[in-house]
Symmetry: C3
Subunit: 138 residues, 3 copies
């Protein structure tokens, strides 16, 4: 049994957005009890991650780390058509993930207690991001 559902997520610019509830709802609606949920982002300047879901400081620290590792406006970058955050957004996407594959057990994503599913918007401006869920199982 395979079903697909596309989520459209409106971001308010750079930052992490918790998708866990929307993914769990889609898994519940699919009727799959045992299987896998593939989460795929159809963009190259925003990405996906599984991350600690309890303390907002984790996301702030992740953002701080990434801004040090891949600074906006770094003169090493030549692909700057869309501004100083254009190429850093691609690099940040490559260093994280465009797809996640989460097991489904007893009709739910078998996340750990502290694990959430996040969209990480890397562009400074607001965007609408398309995320395709593919739920496969029995």
């Amino acid at each position: 049994m395979i079903t697909q559902k596309e989520l459209h997520i409106s971001t308010q610019g750079r930052g992490a957005y918790d998708l866990s509830s929307q993914v769990q709802d889609a898994v519940a609606a699919s009727g799959v009890e045992t299987g896998l949920c593939n989460i795929f982002i159809r963009h190259t300047s925003a990405s996906l991650m599984l991350c600690e879901n309890a303390d907002p400081a984790v996301m702030r620290d992740l953002e701080t780390f990434m801004q040090h590792l891949v600074p906006d406006g770094d003169p090493m970058f030549t692909h700057t058509d869309e501004g100083p955050d254009d190429m850093p957004a691609h690099v940040r996407s490559i260093l994280t993930n465009s797809d996640l594959n989460v097991p489904i057990t007893d009709g739910r994503c078998a996340l750990g207690t502290w694990q959430g599913i996040f969209l990480w918007e890397h562009r400074l401006a607001a965007h609408t991001r398309k995320i395709l869920l593919t739920i496969n199982g029995e």
Copy 2:
């Protein structure tokens, strides 16, 4: 045909632990000849990787690299509830992977000759890590 099995791996603190045999054994026990094995870690301070399995120096060098890239106790981090290795463990997890998806051919994970499946414990202290295998195929 979909089967799941949870591994409980006891780590002795930071370092890489080879899971290849345990994963291959679970695949063999499943009876799946052609398909995929999803390996999912239910934690955000330890991660998974496919890495060179022959020379222990590779793991030592990876550890050296990560300690330079994400130093324990870096003052940029504010999420320090569990100590100087708390936030670095989350960052290291984000930069590597929480899930791996390995093809199964002829009843075995189709790893390359030099490819092993590793748990990377990022915390300094010993932990028990839950890893869920989902084996899907025919």
Copy 3:
């Protein structure tokens, strides 16, 4: 319905190689209309990524970034049997991906408009890389 196909890609050394057409052709040949395509590289010194497919400057900038982040010949590395690019190739592979999982919709990989599937060769010398496709769906 599960089918597998192995691609052998000849690289001319370090750089990105667009596999999108070959993957789309394999998906079309499989007859799967809705499902997933797993792309798996059987090596630890080359990797896979989903990246912007329009401006060649993106790949050049990614390469520049990685050469700064993981310099060839860095004296911190001790695994140097195959030369100054040996250990950096493993690190670069760990920081990107060995497997990608792309949804299939209407008989094609549901990539975003600007999204391509790339092999990233991290070794300086030419290699032949084995990439196994597993196409699963209905």
